[in-house]
């Protein structure tokens, strides 16, 4: 590869990373963690999962699952990923307490004209306190929202699959 091309690649990479929306998302995650645990400072420790394990899990684990420590004590876990709405993807965050129960769920970015109702704090609160032993049946355990059915089902699916992944990971002694 010619040096000119390498320089070009480097510059475009820097440009791309500088406008990367991940910064924006990281800020939102930061805010959520602080308000959920009511702490001013914390540090995150990545939970590394081998490829062979992560490939068998129903949701994606790719440097997006972290332990949250405050004053050197484990307080919980943070998981950030994407799930499909009808024609796009939305970004969501799930925070677990140290006993692996859901403490908070949040829609970080929703990108479509319909279905954004799932970002309602009241609706998301239904997931709070749930563990992998709980059921997540649409319109029974988690309520429906008319006009947002596809995104509601997608979020329920994402949470359910995340919790069953947690069960598998915990049985393999990967989390704690």
């Amino acid at each position: 590869m010619k040096i000119k091309n390498i320089i070009f690649l480097l510059i475009t990479s820097i440009l791309f990373l500088s406008i990367n929306p991940l910064d924006r998302i990281q800020k939102k995650i930061d805010k959520e963690i602080k308000s959920t645990f009511q702490i001013d400072s914390y540090f995150l420790k990545l939970i590394s999962i081998e490829d062979s394990v992560s490939k068998s899990l129903p949701v994606l684990f790719n440097n997006n699952f972290k332990k949250i420590y405050s004053n050197k004590t484990l307080v919980g876990y943070s998981y950030y990923s994407k799930a499909p709405s009808l024609y796009n993807l939305f970004d969501y965050l799930i925070i677990l307490d140290k006993n692996l129960k859901i403490k908070k769920s949040k829609i970080l970015i929703y990108r479509e004209d319909y279905g954004g109702e799932i970002a309602s704090k009241r609706w998301l609160r239904q997931f709070t306190g749930k563990s992998w032993t709980d059921k997540f049946i649409y319109s029974k355990d988690v309520s429906a929202i008319s006009g947002a059915t596809i995104s509601v089902k997608s979020m329920i699916n994402a949470v359910e699959n995340f919790m069953s992944s947690i069960k598998i990971l915990d049985k393999k002694n990967i989390i704690r």
């Binding site: 990479s13 990367n20 991940l22 790719n62 704090k121 009241r122 059915t149 596809i150």
Partner: protein, 364 residues
């Protein structure tokens, strides 16, 4: 050129900074620039007193493009009864902030339930409810611009738009303002109409809607006929819990200047139009099944002559009631077979008639 290819390659690979290969599998390329979708419905109406009819009622292609996280384009191109082509929606949406968007173009007027959520798998019954034709002129769309957004703390969604409004031509007794729609085709914009909608979903399973539409119809500068003033208010509710579903709406419309309009055009436009329906449904299969079989019943009453002005006599045939009962068999997410039986009556001298409808609908 080489640089361009490199750049293109970089952007193609960009999502891999965040997600690995199996994410792509899970997410099925969603979030990419180009969006293709569609919906459609094919009907068979078996009439008691008229010809039986089969029709590709609608076939709609959705074409959209996500320019980036903030900007997207949405369009729907519709073939109605196979031979009529319409652009049903074509707008640009720009996210000013996460929960606030600016929208401009050819857009749906938010009123009642079915005008905005009109895909055949989102409502029961083969045909759309009759009042969503005669009172709310579905599919009601005009050119305009405005804002929409959400308040996640309050479980509230809002929309506020300015539209070009109706033309003062073709308005009448049976279907009210329906023929006054301009549908974005070389439309007049001499007067501006305002439309708003609030949706509240703060109670689990319940969604309440409140909509309004106000404005004068457009008077053709070349023809000296009076226009009318239209004020429409709507309330709607939808509730779902486990296998049980319920929905209803009430729409009231006041038309100012109908007397002058009727004199000029020798028409029979009412001065007040009211309509409502209530529907309940029950899923005969379980909530945990992929398929769904909804048994439903809906009663509807709508009157496009709820009020008349001047010397116009009220036509009781325009005071209609419809009882619809049937089944919607959702065989997959976005695909359904439907059957229903309708008894159509009115306050006029004629007896009730009935129709059996069969249909299939899809949305992807």
């Amino acid at each position: 050129m080489k640089n361009f290819i490199l750049l293109a390659l970089l952007f193609c690979l960009a999502p891999d900074f965040v997600f690995s290969q199996n994410a792509a599998e899970i997410l099925m390329n969603k979030g990419d620039g180009l969006v293709i979708g569609g919906y459609g419905e094919i009907h068979l109406n078996v009439n008691e007193d008229a010809n039986n009819k089969v029709d590709v009622h609608r076939l709609v292609t959705l074409l959209g493009y996500n320019f980036n996280d903030k900007v997207r384009f949405v369009s729907e191109i519709e073939f109605e009864h196979v031979k009529e082509v319409y652009v049903e929606q074509a707008f640009l949406s720009y996210s000013i902030k996460d929960n606030l968007n600016l929208r401009a173009g050819l857009m749906l007027v938010p009123m009642g339930i079915v005008n905005e959520y009109h895909e055949p798998t989102t409502f029961n019954g083969v045909e759309r409810p009759g009042m969503d034709k005669s009172i709310i002129p579905s599919t009601w769309r005009e050119i305009g611009f405005g804002l929409n957004g959400r308040m996640d703390n309050a479980s509230l969604k809002y929309q506020l738009y300015l539209f070009n409004g109706f033309k003062s031509d073709g308005l009448g007794g049976s279907n009210g303002i329906r023929s006054g729609r301009q549908k974005g085709a070389e439309a007049m914009w001499n007067t501006t109409n305002v439309s708003f909608d609030l949706d509240w979903y703060g109670v689990n399973g319940l969604k309440l809607g409140f909509s309004g539409y106000f404005g004068d119809s457009n008077v053709d500068e070349g023809v000296d006929v009076p226009g009318v003033g239209i004020s429409m208010l709507g309330l709607d509710a939808r509730y779902t819990k486990d296998r049980f579903g319920m929905r209803g709406q009430y729409i009231t419309t006041s038309i100012d200047g109908s007397e002058e309009y009727n004199t000029a055009w020798e028409s029979d436009l009412g001065s007040k139009m009211n309509g409502w329906y209530i529907e309940t449904s029950y899923n005969l299969m379980g909530s945990d099944k992929t398929e769904r079989l909804d048994l439903f019943a809906r009663y509807s009453n709508y009157d496009t002559h709820a009020g008349v002005a001047g010397s116009l006599t009220r036509n009781d045939e325009y005071n209609r009631n419809v009882l619809t009962t049937g089944l919607s068999w959702h065989v997959a997410k976005g695909a359904a077979f439907k059957i229903d039986y309708q008894i159509l009556g009115n306050e006029g001298p004629d007896d009730n008639t009935s129709v059996i409808n069969f249909g299939m609908g899809f949305w992807f």
